[in-house]
Amino acid sequence: MYSKKVIQHFQNPRNMGKMKNPDAMGEVGNPTCLLPDEKIFLDPEFTVIKNTGKKNLIFSHDASKNKIINKSSRDYNGKIIEIKNALGKISLTPEHLIYALKLPNHSKYFRTKHKQKLIPAWYHAKHLEQRDIVLYPILKKIKDIKYIKIDIPKKKFDFKSIDIPKKIQLNSELLRLFGYFLSEGNIQDKPCKTYISFSLNIKEKDIVKDIKKISKKLFGLDVKIKEVPKNKVVIVFLYNARLARFFKQLFGNGAEYKKIPNFIMTLPLDKQKSLIEGLWKGDGCINLNRIGPRAGYVTISYHLAQQIKLLLIRQKIVLSMYEEKEKKVNGVNHKKAYRIHVGHRDSLKILCKILGIKYSSKGSYKSITSWFDNDFLYTPITKIERKDYKGKVYNLEVEDKHSFLSEAFALHNCGDIMRLYLKIKDDKIIDISFETMGCVAAISTSSMITEMAKGKTLAQALKISYNDVANELGKLPPVKVHCADLAVKALQKAIKNYGSSKTKTH
């Protein structure tokens, strides 16, 4: 069927592989996309896809960090699919690939051990159904930090603040305090009135005591405590401007924008447990007595909710996220809130251990539809909706792993099948390489076109026709001639891309 030369190029392709820092790249294939406001996990936080940029680092399906090489958008008019699971909700085009397990169609499957044997793969959104399992990577990177610097200079006219250490140990006590702050803390940053306050329920005496103890021990600061029995509140004040500014720098300003600093997200699991303890004792709740015992956490900060999700997944705690719309209760405005629930038995046990509570419950159930292995959290799709959509859609191209992480699951980037990389000097192609996912003919025509284009000027290279490529290979079967055409198109696209990038820079 194939000529000897075709097979030769297939078995021994020339100029194969990705090129570092190419001057231009051309790709051909079928792009698939996400809606503009879908959030994806850029390092360090979730960002809407339309605001991502080249060179940003992104998390891929295997929890590795990779660079965005390209962002593309196009106009779309047609069906989109909205897929929801316990971790979030994403709308995308039906052809987009999702990292998932497809379950055989019988109801008892979850109860068998076979589910552990299913092999995850990339499935088109349109082929997934409710109950199918999507995978969420555990971000396992660990980087311990022993000390942190408080590099906030004392203000010129600050005579009140006592000196606090320039460097403090990042230990479990500090992390617990951070947790309290993220949940209950507040910063007042006005001239001559810069302090940290914690608003606690009047019953939370233990926390008051703990904050007092930690503050004294780590910063040498005495706290001021003010009880407001009318509101059932007790407020703990830490009067120190430098510390307050330091906390603001670390955790952001205002409850809606609170977030956990990056270096904490990669601390060892044990230290993070202390943070979770502080967080949960602050804004969390745990009720082991109800039927279906449950723990919950509420915050109005989107970023904080997402980060807690990632932290809990690291601890192998199965959770579900809920969004609560803005509402009015008894005349009080409640902002949009994010709620995290933990209800599965094994997960509750882990959480109880972190909180130092004895786990005892009769009515809990073991999770069979969600589970962990060493690398992933497996959770079922809870809802799929098909909708009509007209507007822009976006896609990314990610280096190396070709995938990126959304709120709810991992997505594959575009489905291109042939890529040509060029190095150009004085309008001459001095180096060229290819990557092709395809048949014998696609691979050998890719290989051949790199050989043909190398050393040619851009004008000469543009003249290469698919017939030239086919002839050069001896002969291609008629049905395979389009492969040569694909290679030619990829080359022309690369040269065109080079032209437009040049006009931009000059």
Binding site: L97, H127, E435, M437, C439, V479
Partner: protein, 391 residues
């Protein structure tokens, strides 16, 4: 000189002729070459050989030998049942078949549809590759004349619930004047599944020689007695006037022997299944991002159908072929029409997944070392192709 060793894992495409079968055929080429229609001894011997083969097949299908007709291929058998039933009818008829039938069923159906002679319902399959029995029940209409469902699929090897369908049609027929005829294409099934036509409740069944270690160019059609069907090929009136043309005596003898041999080779089925499972688990274990397609339980024991992400099927086939391993793919690139296999797209495989799919079909001759060799060679091939594709 040593014969070059190769690993043949495309037994769903065709099988080698069993040596015992070939030995039985041989005399009919050289010694007993008489025309069965003649009345002298040499011809009578040939005629007897044909009847012997007919008995062997009837014995296998648990039917009467006069319900068996020899044809040139299973494709002919399939065509015959469709066109042969048709010519009796004046009104527009309705045929029910499935989206994953062999082309020998689909193409005639399409043709009838285009000509406006018949209305066709194509039953869908679920993601396990199986037809839901209630979809069949729902599809049946007043003018339904024929239901044709493949027993086992050639590509993904899934086995359809023919027995249940047979029972359903029987039940429906008991209340109808115009009986529905139930046909099954059992070409892939004969080797491994029970083909007792009474048990299955089918009215007709087609089978082929070259898929069951018999010769190529011979097929058969079972038609339940009482069902009237017109011949497609007219001429010398062979096969009781139903299929003219001088009988392919060695082929018929070979088919009979091959069928007989299937009955006595049941013990080998388990061995094939063990090897097949070894192949599947080995591939899924050693090659990341590989995916097994279709139901594992409701499947022929010799079939493994796997997609390798980032490596294209035709490339894999050609690479394996360079290592003397012969398999097949449903990739669009390997088909004449450049569209992916209709079976795989019906199964719900994406364009890319069928693009990356490879079918391994084992046979009686498959040895443990063959599987070991494949498992040794394949990971490297996939790795190389993924390197080229950059995935």
């Amino acid at each position: 000189m040593n014969k070059r060793r190769f690993v043949y894992l495309d037994n769903a495409a065709t099988t080698p002729v069993d040596t015992a079968v070939f030995k039985k055929m041989q005399p009919y080429f050289f010694e007993q070459y008489g025309n069965p229609s003649t009345i002298y001894n040499l011809g009578i011997k040939a005629k007897q050989a044909i009847e012997n083969a007919r008995n062997q097949i009837a014995n296998f299908l648990k039917c009467s030998s006069n319900e068996i007709y020899f044809t040139g291929s299973a494709s002919e058998s399939d065509n015959w049942i469709i066109y042969g039933l048709l010519s009796n009818k004046k009104k527009k008829i309705h045929i029910i078949t499935s989206v994953i039938e062999h082309k020998a069923i689909l193409e005639p159906c399409k043709n009838l549809e285009e000509e406006g002679i018949a209305e066709i319902t194509y039953l869908p399959i679920n993601e396990s590759g199986l037809i839901e029995i209630n979809s069949l029940e729902k599809a049946i209409k007043k003018n339904t004349l024929l239901v044709s469902i493949m027993y086992a699929n050639s590509e993904i090897g899934t086995v359809q619930p023919i027995e249940e369908m047979g029972a359903l049609i029987k039940r429906i027929n008991s209340k109808r004047k115009e009986k529905i005829i139930f046909h099954t294409d059992a070409v892939q099934a004969v080797n491994y599944l029970n083909c007792d036509v009474q048990n299955l409740g089918v009215d007709s069944l087609s089978l082929s020689g070259h898929k069951i270690y018999g010769p190529k160019g011979i097929g058969a059609l079972y038609i339940r007695s009482g069902i009237s069907i017109n011949p497609l090929i007219h001429g010398g009136g062979q096969e009781k006037g139903m299929r003219s043309g001088t009988e392919n005596v060695p082929g018929i003898v070979g088919l009979g022997e091959a069928v007989k041999k299937v009955q006595s080779s049941k013990s080998k089925v388990q061995k094939i299944k063990v090897l097949r499972n070894k192949l599947i688990t080995g591939i899924l274990k050693d090659i990341p991002d590989s995916q097994f397609n279709g139901s594992l339980e409701k499947r022929l024991p010799n079939n493994a159908h796997i997609s390798f992400k980032g490596a294209e099927g035709e490339s894999i086939v050609i690479e394996l072929s360079q290592k003397d391993i012969f398999v097949s793919t449903g990739s669009a690139c390997a088909s004449k029409s450049l569209s992916p296999s209709h079976v795989l797209t019906s199964l719900g495989l994406s364009h890319e997944e069928s693009h990356c799919s490879v079918r391994f079909t084992l046979g009686r001759q498959t040895k443990d070392e063959d599987i070991k060799y494949v498992l040794k060679v394949l990971p490297g091939i996939i790795k190389r192709l993924r390197k080229i594709s950059g995935r």
